[in-house]
């Protein structure tokens, strides 16, 4: 615990130093230095928890009305802490180079990098809290930091709106979570999580309602469908490292909260497992569908986050069913798959966002319709982005495959019988669909942005970014390959946390047995590809004779091909989008030429719409109108409306609990 405290103090000092120092280099350096200290001390602090599984705990006496504040770092906290801080550190290193063009324009990075330090501090609070109040404090610090980080380019109205959208969404979630905590507090007469456990593990309507509230709150934080609409908005508006950290690290706090309360839940009801599974599968499928038509590379990656948290939640759903059915094997496979996918997703999604940041710095746009041929100008970025992309699609031999394999194993061979087994297999097919769709999206995004020739003249001459950006990306890529080729290593990281979920004696052995095979198969695949590739390259070198003139791509007999004839982001997605037009409707604006000799130019513009967001805004507009009509002046005071809503949630929870 002392080490964690040192880390927290270092982060505070680093943040303060970033604010007061005079030189940009020193400001960024102070922030990075503090994070290095904090990461090292955190790793030292949690190492014994990994080794022995014995939790660290501490209590701090506080004045009335809070009383004592309890901190407790168990294996679950240790798992989340062990990668959250180092990944934030890599993000800050990336930021140092990424922000450089803005800094030479006279911007002061002090507050930005200080916020990154505070973000790390919020992880310490959230993951180590044993007290609902501290948990909420960390939760709020993370939300506000993320909001302030998103509006780095605050002069753009679009970015301010996206960030405000995020701020509102995350606070709606805060109200729901506060309602859940107040309900629990009223039962337990304490804000301590351990005391919550007593009431949360008693079956009944109250538990069901509280569980529902918690799920909604954490789903909002992690960007599950249909609460995802703020994710692509915020992540396309934020600087690349902030998008990466939001998607890869900050949103994971929602899943952590869910797991933290799962530990307090005791044996869950069967409907809980099925609900989470269905909820996760919907996010995985719909999130993947949305990735196929996006034009904005960062928006695309944002939707992919929704897909991936959905996959993790599917794992937890299977784990819940395992707990209900007292099947240790399903507990190990389900929670193992979910936890491992959280780690895997953090690695590849950060890498992809960093790649997108390199593209936006290199080519000055992330609109796929304007990009093309970047692999020639930015070969290193292209290679790293491709590794992240293939991992997102869950393709072997990379890390995404390991976690998805565990989930498939649990779903296809659940050991359940009859209808339950059939339902689980159907969920397996959903996972297969989302996997194939995300492979589609990755090939489309990479193919259109990096391959072929530029589709429109670029504003800037693209080039690979400096080592400050490439080195963090390369580290992520190495970790992705390592966790893919040696998946038991990833399992070893999640094992202590995994053991908490089942009854005492729960073992990770079923998952370990499967992943040992996957590791061998992945190595075989890697070798099986490396050998032919080496032979092929040797054959090509042997036969190469310098051509007299550059040879063009074969135009199929058409002599006047232009880059604008290439397949575009929209046309690549067209056959697929036509099949799923109900889910991914395009918004098309066209002005067709009139008459035989049209006077003005025609126009055709299409961009993908998010039907959920459209309906939410429609519904809000409608709802606001009704509230205004009904209450006259109430909607002029939004705080009052929220307070009324909060009280109503608590009352409803009580009514539901009281009638049980």
């Amino acid at each position: 615990m002392l080490f964690l405290l040192i880390g927290a103090v270092a982060l505070l000092l680093g943040a303060a130093a970033s604010l007061v120092l005079r030189q940009n280099r020193a400001r960024v350096g102070a922030s990075i230095g503090a994070q290095v200290v904090a990461s090292v001390f955190t790793l030292v602090a949690v190492a014994p928890v990994f080794a022995t599984g014995t939790p660290l705990s501490a209590e701090i006496a506080w004045s009335y009305p809070v009383g004592t504040i309890a901190f407790r770092v168990d294996a679950l906290s240790a798992f989340f802490l062990a990668w959250s801080l180092p990944l934030t550190l890599l993000g800050t290193i990336y930021a140092g180079t990424y922000l450089r063009p803005d800094l030479s324009g006279g911007r002061n990075p002090g507050s930005h990098v200080a916020l990154l330090d505070l973000l790390s501090l919020s992880f310490l609070l959230i993951y180590a809290a044993q007290d609902a109040l501290v948990f909420l404090l960390g939760w709020e610090v993370a939300a506000v930091c993320a909001w302030l980080l998103v509006i780095w380019s605050y002069r753009s109205q679009k970015i301010r709106f996206a960030a405000f959208n995020y701020l509102v969404s995350t606070h709606v979630g805060l109200f729901v979570i506060a309602a859940a905590f107040m309900t629990l507090r009223a039962q337990a007469h304490s804000m301590d999580f351990a005391a919550f456990g007593a009431s949360l593990s008693t079956p009944g309507a109250l538990r069901d309602v509280t569980f529902g509230l918690l799920c909604v709150a954490f789903a909002l934080k992690s960007g599950f469908f249909p609460f995802h609409t703020w994710v692509p908005r915020a992540e396309s508006a934020a600087p690349a490292h902030v998008s990466a950290l939001m998607s890869g690290v900050i949103h994971k706090a929602g899943l952590f909260g869910f797991l933290r309360f799962t530990l307090l839940l005791g044996v869950p009801e069967e409907w809980m497992g099925w609900t989470i599974l269905a909820f996760g599968a919907t996010s995985a499928v719909v999130g993947a569908l949305f990735t196929t038509t996006q034009r904005d590379l960062k928006r695309l990656l944002g939707y992919s986050s929704t897909e991936n948290v959905g996959i993790a939640a599917m794992g937890f759903g299977v784990g819940y069913l395992g707990l209900t059915w007292h099947r240790g094997e399903l507990v190990a496979l389900g929670f193992g798959a979910g936890l491992l996918h959280i780690l895997n997703h953090a690695l590849f999604k950060c890498l992809l966002f960093y790649g997108a940041g390199a593209v936006s710095r290199g080519a000055d746009t992330v609109d796929l319709e304007h990009l093309g041929g970047l692999a020639r100008a930015m070969p290193r970025t292209a290679a790293l982005f491709l590794i992240g992309g293939l991992a997102t699609a869950g393709l072997p031999p990379l890390n995404g495959f390991a976690s998805e394999f565990l989930l498939y194993a649990a779903l296809l061979r659940s050991g359940a019988s009859g209808n339950a087994a059939a339902a689980l297999i159907a969920f397996g097919a959903c996972l297969a669909f989302s996997g194939a769709v995300s492979a589609f999206a990755v090939v489309r995004a990479f193919g259109v942005a990096f391959l072929g020739t530029p589709r429109a003249p670029l504003a800037a001459v693209p080039a690979d970014p400096g080592w400050g950006m490439l080195a963090p990306m390369a580290l992520h890529a190495v970790a992705i390959a390592l966790l893919g080729l040696v998946p038991t290593l990833g399992l070893a990281l999640v094992t202590p946390a995994l053991r908490l979920f089942g009854p005492p004696g729960t073992s990770e052995a079923p998952a370990a047995a499967l992943l040992t095979n996957v590791g061998t198969a992945n190595l075989l695949l890697a070798a099986g590809i490396a050998v032919p590739v080496a032979v092929g390259l040797w054959l090509a070198r042997r036969g190469t004779v310098e051509a007299r003139a550059p040879i063009p791509t074969w135009g199929c007999g058409y002599p006047a091909a232009t880059p604008r004839m290439q397949v575009t982001a929209t046309s690549f997605a067209a056959p697929f989008a036509r099949l799923f037009a109900a889910w991914i409707p395009p918004v098309v604006k066209r002005v067709l030429p009139q008459g035989y000799f049209p006077a003005g130019p025609g126009l055709l513009r299409s961009h993908p719409a998010d039907p959920v967001e459209d309906r939410i805004f429609e519904g809000l507009g409608e709802g606001e109108k009704r509230v205004t009509d009904a209450f006259g002046r109430v909607s002029a005071e939004p705080r009052a409306v929220f307070a009324v809503g909060l009280v109503m949630l608590v009352v409803l929870a009580y009514l539901a609990g009281g009638t049980a």
Binding site: A375, R376, L386, L390, A393, G394, L395, P396, F401, Y408, A409, L412, R413, G418, A421, A422, L424, I425, G428, A429, A432, F433, G435, A436, A439, F440, V442, V443, R444, G447, V448, G452, L514, N517, A521, L525, G528, I529, A530, P532, V533, V535, G536, L537, L539, A540, G543, T544, I551, P552, T553, W554, C556, A561, Q566, V567, S571, F572, A574, L579
Partner: protein
């Protein structure tokens, strides 16, 4: 597993790969009343291509040179999971997932290679391939789940040996034949989904993606395509091979089954027209529904005949 068994499997599948496309072509010539090219013509083509030099478009990057060999490597590794004579060379619980994803990796590499040329036709073909695969993948997993449930098995090698003990069991078996047939037709780019002998780039899928490859690179892709056909047909043939044969007999029976199925494919190709591009997803849905029905049937089986 003895060294002889390993060798026999490798020779069987590796040898069938260049032969089966030739058998299909020969069958089509026979139906058309022509004598046709020798059965080994695809093998001669491979030898010829290996001796040629590759030509690379100025638009392409290193990815274009790596992609064909990645396709070949991934297809070869995927084929190791398939049982031909006795147990498969690589077999572990859930290997069917690995099999599907190794094919997925090969598919992704092929599409990326196609997009690397910047050719509109290749891009169009890649887009179609990607679209079909999104519908086909769930079918394969549904089938694996259904067959695994009814036969209580978890490896691909054991799944193809599941036979019916009662009406539901045979229903699941029949549905797996239907699903795998559509799967082979889509994955190996055969009629009525894709016409391997089409001369019009606008209508190509698999051929479209390899338009710009040449020399040894094209040979690698052609061989991988043949191996994919051989792998798919071997899976289908294994459904018809009696369970419990000694390895050598099972190997011979599977090989004979592959040849017979190739003749069947040629016959289908001679008698049917290609589907319109927009109708192909509907055809792929046949596989999805057949596999879904297999899952329902196996659940019904597990419930002891009650719903």
């Amino acid at each position: 597993m003895t060294a002889a068994a390993v060798l026999a499997q490798a020779v069987l599948l590796g040898g069938l790969a260049p032969v089966l496309p030739g058998v299909v072509t020969r069958t089509k010539s026979w139906w058309a009343g022509r004598r046709g090219a020798p059965v080994l013509q695809p093998a001669y083509d491979l030898v010829k291509l290996m001796r040629k030099r590759a030509v690379y478009s100025a638009t392409t990057t290193a990815l274009f040179r790596v992609a064909p060999w990645t396709v070949l490597g991934a297809t070869v590794v995927a084929s190791l999971v398939v049982p031909l004579a006795g147990p498969a060379l690589v077999s572990f619980p859930g290997d069917v997932v690995f099999f599907a994803y190794a094919w997925g990796l090969a598919r992704a590499a092929m599409m990326l290679g196609a997009l690397d040329t910047g050719s509109p036709f290749e891009g169009m073909a890649a887009s179609r391939e990607a679209t079909f695969s999104t519908l086909l993948e769930p079918a394969l997993f549904l089938l694996a789940g259904g067959v695994g449930l009814v036969g209580d098995v978890d490896t691909l090698g054991a799944m193809v040996q599941v036979r019916g003990h009662d009406a539901t069991g045979w229903l699941v078996w029949a549905l797996s034949v239907v699903t795998l047939t559509v799967l082979v037709q889509v994955e190996a780019a055969r009629l009525p989904v894709d016409d391997p002998t089409t001369h019009l780039e606008l209508t190509m899928v698999h051929e479209g993606m390899i338009l710009d490859h040449s020399g040894p690179d094209l040979a690698a892709l052609q061989y991988a395509a043949g191996l994919k056909l051989a792998t798919g047909l071997a899976l289908l043939a294994a459904l018809f091979v009696p369970v419990g044969l000694p390895p050598w007999a099972a190997g011979l029976a599977t090989a004979a089954g592959c040849l017979a199925l190739a003749v069947g494919l040629g016959t289908v190709e001679s008698l049917t027209a290609r589907l319109r591009m927009r109708a192909v997803p509907a055809y792929v849905l046949v596989a999805l529904f057949a596999a879904g029905a297999a899952v329902l049937a196996s659940a019904w089986h597990g419930n002891g005949g009650a719903l």
